[in-house]
Structures are given as structure tokens and as C-alpha cells.
């Protein structure tokens, strides 16, 4: 409880503001003569000009001041808006100044985002997290401050405002490939979570009903979770290769030692533990009196399941699916290494070519995808929670 008193929403907000101020000494834009060159780092005031720099500094100071003051609905909204404005300014002027700087250099010159921008993004995230928490009663404002900044940046991106940034340049050169890998990524993580749910929920139900089944099921799920993802992908290569040699028909379906097959299987295995465990707990934590009353009043076992167990366990089960989904988005990045494709492909390409912009091209969409999936699943969990049960988030 002591820790609770120390770490309040305010202290998180203060931390965020502080991190924001820490972004100032770093370089914000890097001007490179070519894709792979080292480049010179430009400070905030050199990159954006003094007026914008001043605006950003003032906004961070405002955030710091508001965070130190007593927590209050309007202060949280103000902090949230200020943070969003910083984010939007950062990106608008990154785009504009990148245009300016790119015009001065050669055709191969690149302008990329530097540490200052990343620290800013981190600071904005922390600050918005704190603001969101204290606005949990006010859904409208909570959603506004959560998404407006991101929405503005995405709009900017789509309208070409950021085209001079090296990341976007990399993208423009590989648009169709990007779309391909994005689709593969979604299919991989989506498919594995759906399959994991279809397999995991029955396993969870079995474990909850049957004491003897409980041990082996959890033994398996726990062990697989501890295997590092890359190792599991690698372990699956050999058996799947052997299988596809033994049954050439499988190769027609695209099941080979490398590629999507081992990735999908491994991802399904990883989705199992959160889903099985949450299904198990969801059913076991039900008040036995409720089930007894249901049976005693004349519900058949299937009716008890449909009318009582499902609605009461659903929120927890869906939380498990949420955990598995967000986990899968991240793990799918590794799948690229064994030829399965996905956004991770860009990350590994970038690593191989020592081109940081490619890495970013892969990493940022993965992060955004994870955030979106998380938000969507949270909404689904909230919708599935029946009124009359205590609500969590």
C-alpha cells in the first residue's frame, strides 16, 4: 500500500513531463548525405527554428506545472491536450523542416528522425497514460486525448506531409512490399489467435471441469511459454521439413520447414497459455452456489453452461484472448526471420543492411498495430462484461 501512495497518477505525469524536458538536449533531426551514411545531428532549435522550439519547451513546462498541481479533471484534460499538441508540432515541423533540408542537399540526401523525437514520443505516451487513468470516468475526453494526436500524425502521413523523412522515403520505395508484409502479419497473428482460441477454450474448459486433466494441460502450456520464440521456430523447422519431404502433397499447401507453417504453429502454441489459463480461472472462480442454485432449480448442464458459466466467465476469457493477441503481434515480428514474412521482414532487412530507417519502418507499424489491437480487445472485454458485475478497466 505504501508504494500505491508514492506512485500516484500525478507522479507518472510528472515523470512524463520530465522525460519531455529531457528530449531537449538530444538531436532531433539527422541530415545524412546518403542512405547509409552517419550524418550530422541537429538540435531542436537548429532543426525547427527558435519559435517552434520555444513553443515546445513552454508546453512541456506547462505539463510539468499541471502535473505538480493537485489532480483535477480539467488539469488532466489540459495536460492531455498539451501533450497531443507537442506531438503534432513535433511531426508537422519534422515534415516541414525535412522538406527544407532535403531541398538543400543532393538527391540521395536523407533526413531522419533522431533521439529527440523518440524521447518526445515516449514522454507523450507516459503523459497520456497518466491523463487517461485520471479520466477513466469521462469516456469522451479520454478517447479524445488518446487518439487525436495519433490521428493527426497519421493524417499528416497520408497526405504526404512527412514525405521527406527517410523512413517515409524507404516506404515509398517499397509500398507494395509493405502492403504485402502487413497483410501477412495480420494473417499470421490473427490466424494464430483465432486458432489458439478455438483450441485453447475447450482445453481450458476441460482443465476446469476435470481435476486430472488440469495438471498435464498446464504443464504443457507453461513449458511452451518458456521456450524463446526464435528457438521454437527453429525447433519446428526440422520436423516440418521431414513431413513435407515425406508427404509432397503438403508442399502444395505451402507447408514447408520454413515459412508460414512453423511460424503459425509456434504462434498458436504461444497463444495457448493465456487463453487456457484465463478460461480455467474464469470457470473456477465462479461462485459454486450460483451453479448449485442453477442446477437445483432445474437447469440442465448445457443450460447452466450457456446461461450462467458463459456470461460470467466471458470477460476473463476475452481478457486472455486480448493478452494472446497483443503477444502475437509482437512475436510475429520474429517470424520474418524464418521466412514467414510480416512486418518483421523490414526489421531484419534493416539490421542486415545497417539501415535504421528500414528497422523503424518495420517496428513502428508493429507497435501501432499492437496498440490498436489492445484498444479494440479492451472494448470487446468491456462490452462482454454483464452489468451487475464489478467493472475493472
Amino acid at each position: 500500500m505504501m508504494i500505491r501512495q508514492w506512485v500516484t497518477t500525478n507522479s507518472v505525469a510528472v515523470t512524463g513531463s520530465f522525460i519531455g524536458l529531457c528530449s531537449l538536449p538530444f538531436g532531433w533531426l539527422t541530415l545524412k548525405t546518403s542512405r547509409l551514411a552517419a550524418g550530422t545531428s541537429l538540435r531542436l532549435w537548429d532543426a525547427y527554428g527558435w519559435s517552434v522550439a520555444a513553443a515546445i519547451i513552454i508546453l512541456w513546462l506547462i505539463c510539468l506545472a499541471l502535473s505538480l498541481a493537485e489532480r483535477n479533471r480539467w488539469r488532466s484534460i489540459a495536460t492531455g491536450i498539451a501533450a497531443n499538441v507537442v506531438l503534432i508540432l513535433t511531426f508537422i515541423f519534422a515534415g516541414l523542416n525535412a522538406n527544407r533540408l532535403a531541398a538543400t542537399g543532393s538527391e540521395f540526401a536523407r533526413v531522419s528522425l533522431s533521439a529527440g523525437v523518440w524521447v518526445t514520443i515516449a514522454a507523450v505516451y507516459v503523459l497520456l497514460f497518466a491523463a487517461r487513468q485520471s479520466l477513466h470516468n469521462d469516456r469522451v475526453w479520454q478517447n479524445v486525448i488518446s487518439w487525436i494526436g495519433l490521428a493527426a500524425v497519421v493524417t499528416l502521413l497520408l497526405t504526404g506531409g512527412l514525405n521527406s523523412l527517410s523512413v517515409v522515403q524507404e516506404f515509398i520505395g517499397r509500398e507494395s512490399r509493405f502492403q504485402q508484409e502487413m497483410i501477412k502479419h495480420v494473417l499470421l497473428f490473427g490466424g494464430s489467435v483465432i486458432a489458439g482460441t478455438i483450441i485453447g477454450i475447450p482445453l481450458g474448459i476441460w482443465a476446469a471441469r476435470n481435476r486430472r486433466a488440469e495438471k498435464p494441460i498446464f504443464y504443457f502450456a507453461n513449458i511452451t511459454q518458456t521456450i524463446p520464440s526464435l528457438a521454437l521456430f527453429g525447433l519446428l523447422i526440422a520436423p516440418l521439413s521431414a513431413l513435407s519431404f515425406a508427404f509432397p502433397a503438403l508442399r502444395e499447401f505451402g507447408i514447408r520447414g520454413v515459412g508460414a507453417a512453423p511460424a503459425l504453429i509456434a504462434l498458436i502454441i504461444y497463444s495457448l497459455l493465456p487463453i487456457v489459463r484465463n478460461t480455467f480461472v474464469g470457470l473456477r472462480q465462479l461462485d459454486p452456489a450460483v451453479i448449485d442454485a442453477g442446477l437445483g432449480m432445474g437447469m440442465s448442464r448445457p443450460q447452466v453452461f450457456r446461461r450462467l458459466e458463459i456470461p460470467l466467465a466471458a470477460p476473463l476469457v476475452l481478457e486472455g484472448v486480448r493478452t494472446a493477441s497483443v503477444q502475437a503481434v509482437g512475436l510475429t515480428a520474429v517470424a520474418a526471420l524464418i521466412g514467414a514474412g510480416g512486418l518483421g521482414w523490414f526489421v531484419f532487412q534493416g539490421l542486415g543492411q545497417a539501415a535504421p530507417d528500414l528497422i523503424i519502418l518495420g517496428a513502428i507499424p508493429i507497435i501501432i498495430l499492437a496498440l490498436v489491437v489492445d484498444a479494440v480487445m479492451r472494448k470487446i472485454v468491456r462490452l462482454s462484461t454483464p452489468k451487475g458485475l464489478a467493472t475493472g478497466t
Binding site: V290, G294, M297, G298, L308, P311, P386, G388, L389
Partner: protein, 365 residues
């Protein structure tokens, strides 16, 4: 109406219920009571087949319960348990409507029934129908549990410590309410409890169990006055006489009481008291105010001067009170007689210690 024939339930080698036979008539309240582990809850749960007997038969209205489908059987038997088990994700109305919905009643009939039952258990429908279980107090939840058990108007009601999980004051109120409901509905009830006072209060007949067997099955009066063996004797406790008094109503024993108006003079009061030592003092409308002592009248000139005021609520009894309450107040207040009043606090008569003694002697026979 309900007949258990040599019912046995074995878990491995141990018999939780051993050759238990019982017959409960229609409209009777039969209370199963006994020490922990005596098999009373197991017996109850065998009636609606939540537990299947190892051997023996249970007949409801002459039909063997073992033949019917368990779900069908249970829908015709009301079931209320100690922890209530209200469905937390459904409103109170939806909870009560459970069995009618399983029986495919139409919506308007269900709605009417829900309203009827909420009124019956003393919870205004307008306020409670849309509430969720987590908004209810313990007493309210237990009442809704009983309403839910009665929803489809089953002829039989099984109750497992239905009033156990609340404080003693609420429990007493719930018991009184249940007794009133039972008067009206006349269901065949089998109730399990470990509280002997509850059993004595509510039962038409009590079945005392020990180690899975039936020890004595009689009316409360008989069990109290003629315990079958040492076990029952000890189980019932040494204050049998007192317990018996809680079964006797004061109505039978009310005798006319000397009373005098507040506005009366000392001389009128002396006449009213006559040979007794005191009289009750009432106002114009006959409402009880206090009492007056013969001795204090010798100094006073009017009743008003010498009257000793009473807190009517603490001292006076209502018609429906038991002799046990009468004795309790006599001892508490140091009086040899207690006034009996009606709903408007008007004096009806009094009950004396002598009456209590006479009633005890009568019960001994």
C-alpha cells in the same frame, strides 16, 4: 406427499445417510435438524436428486423421483440455499423469473408473477425489480432467494439453512415473514437447519437426525416434552420448558385487567383497583400509558400524580406474542403481570406469571 423409504447414501464405505425413512404430509413444514455431519443436507439434496441415493426410494405424490428426468423434477420443486446463489449478471426480476422461463411461461405472466412475489416477500417491485444482486443487503438477497424458489408456484419447497447467513435480528424478521407466507401458501416444506429455536418456531414436525439416521420425528411440543432418548434430551437442551413456551400463544391466556383513566381521581382509582395491588392507567381512547400502585394512592389526590409511566413498546405484548416473550418481559421488568395491547396500543387485558406456570404444567402432561 413426500415419502422417503429406507434411503441410503454411501460414500465409499461410510454411510452419510443410513436407512432413512420419513413421510411429510401436504402443507406441512418438516424441519431436518441434527449435529454437523448428521446427513440432513445430504438427505435434502437427495429429494431433488442433486445427490443420487445409493439405495432406497423417494416418492413425491406417489411417483418415484428416480424415474423422472432430474431437470423436470427440479422445476417442480422450489430450492433455496444458505448462500442464496443469486445470478450476479441478472437483475432481481430475471433471477426470480428463472424457473418460469425454463417452463416457457409467456412474458406477461412472468412479469405479473415477479411483481406478486416481490410484494409477498416485502420488497416493493418498482424499486427492486431492476436491481442487481450486488446492490442488495444480506436480508434482501435471502428474501429474493425465497421468492425465486416460489416463482413457479411449486407444491414443494426445499430449503437449506435459508436464513443462516444473516444477523440474528434480520433472521428473526425473515422467520416471521416466512411463517406468515407459509400460513398463506401452505406449501409442503422441508427445511434444514442447525438452529433449534428456528426449528421450534417454524416446524409442524421436527426430524432429529444423528449419524445418518432418524432419531425422532414428532411435533416440537412432543420432542420437547417427551424426548425419545438421551441424545434428543441432550440435543434439545435443559431449557426445554422455556422452549416449549415459545410455541404457546398468549391469546389463550389473556384475562381482563383492572384499568383506570388518567383523568380519574384517587377515589375512583381505589375503587377500580379493588383488592389487587395495582392497575393499568389508560388515556381517553383506551391506550396504555402506565400503571399505578395502590400504596402510592394513599398520598395522592389524583391518578395523574401517582402514575408510573411505561414504555409501551418495551413492556406490553401484542396478541400474537408467545408465552416465552411474556415470561421474558416479566423477568426483565420485575412484574408479575404483563399488559396485552392491540395494534393501536389499546389495552386488551393482561397475562400473569401464574398463567405461565399453569401453561408449563399443562404442557408437561
Amino acid at each position: 406427499m413426500i415419502k422417503l423409504e429406507q434411503v441410503t447414501k454411501k460414500y465409499g464405505e461410510t454411510a452419510a445417510v443410513n436407512g432413512f425413512s420419513l413421510e411429510v404430509n401436504e402443507g406441512e413444514v418438516c424441519v431436518l435438524i441434527g449435529p454437523s455431519g448428521c446427513g440432513k443436507t445430504t438427505t435434502l439434496r437427495m429429494i431433488n436428486r442433486l445427490i443420487e441415493p445409493t439405495s432406497g426410494r423417494i416418492l413425491v405424490n406417489g411417483r418415484d423421483t428416480g424415474q423422472a428426468k432430474p431437470e423436470q423434477l427440479r422445476r417442480s420443486i422450489g430450492y433455496a440455499i444458505q448462500s442464496v446463489g443469486l445470478f450476479p449478471h441478472l437483475t432481481v426480476a430475471a433471477n426470480i423469473a428463472t424457473v418460469p422461463e425454463l417452463l416457457h411461461w409467456d412474458k406477461s405472466r412472468i412479469a405479473r408473477r415477479v411483481e406478486e412475489l416481490l410484494t409477498l416477500v416485502g420488497l416493493p417491485p418498482a424499486e427492486y425489480a431492476a436491481k442487481y444482486p450486488n446492490q442488495l443487503s444480506g436480508g434482501e438477497a435471502q428474501r429474493i432467494g425465497v421468492a425465486r424458489a416460489l416463482a413457479a408456484d411449486p407444491p414443494i419447497l426445499l430449503m437449506d439453512e435459508p436464513f443462516g447467513a444473516v444477523d440474528p435480528l434480520t433472521r428473526e424478521r425473515l422467520q416471521t415473514q416466512f411463517a406468515a407466507i407459509q400460513q398463506e401458501l401452505k406449501k409442503t416444506v422441508i427445511l434444514v437447519t442447525h438452529d433449534l429455536d428456528e426449528a421450534i418456531r417454524l416446524a409442524d414436525r421436527i426430524a432429529i437426525m444423528a449419524a445418518g439416521k432418524l432419531v425422532q420425528y414428532d411435533t416440537p411440543e412432543t420432542i420437547l416434552s417427551r424426548p425419545a432418548n438421551k441424545f434428543v434430551h441432550d440435543f434439545v437442551g435443559t431449557d426445554r420448558a422455556l422452549k416449549r413456551l415459545s410455541r404457546i400463544n398468549v391469546e389463550r391466556f389473556i384475562r381482563p385487567a383492572a384499568s383506570v383513566a388518567l383523568s380519574a381521581s384517587a377515589r375512583e382509582a381505589k375503587t377500580a383497583i379493588g383488592g389487587k395491588r395495582s392497575a393499568w392507567v389508560v388515556d381517553e381512547g383506551g391506550q396504555l400509558l402506565g400503571w399505578i400502585d395502590k400504596a402510592s394512592l394513599s398520598e395522592a389526590t389524583s391518578v395523574r400524580q401517582a402514575v408510573v409511566a411505561l414504555d409501551t413498546k418495551d413492556i406490553a405484548l401484542m396478541r400474537c406474542a408467545t408465552l416465552r416473550e411474556a415470561l421474558s418481559r416479566m423477568l426483565g421488568q420485575g412484574l408479575k403481570s404483563i399488559p396485552v395491547v392491540d395494534e393501536n396500543s389499546r389495552l386488551i387485558g393482561e397475562v400473569t406469571l401464574g398463567d405461565v406456570e399453569a401453561a408449563t404444567a399443562e404442557a408437561e402432561e
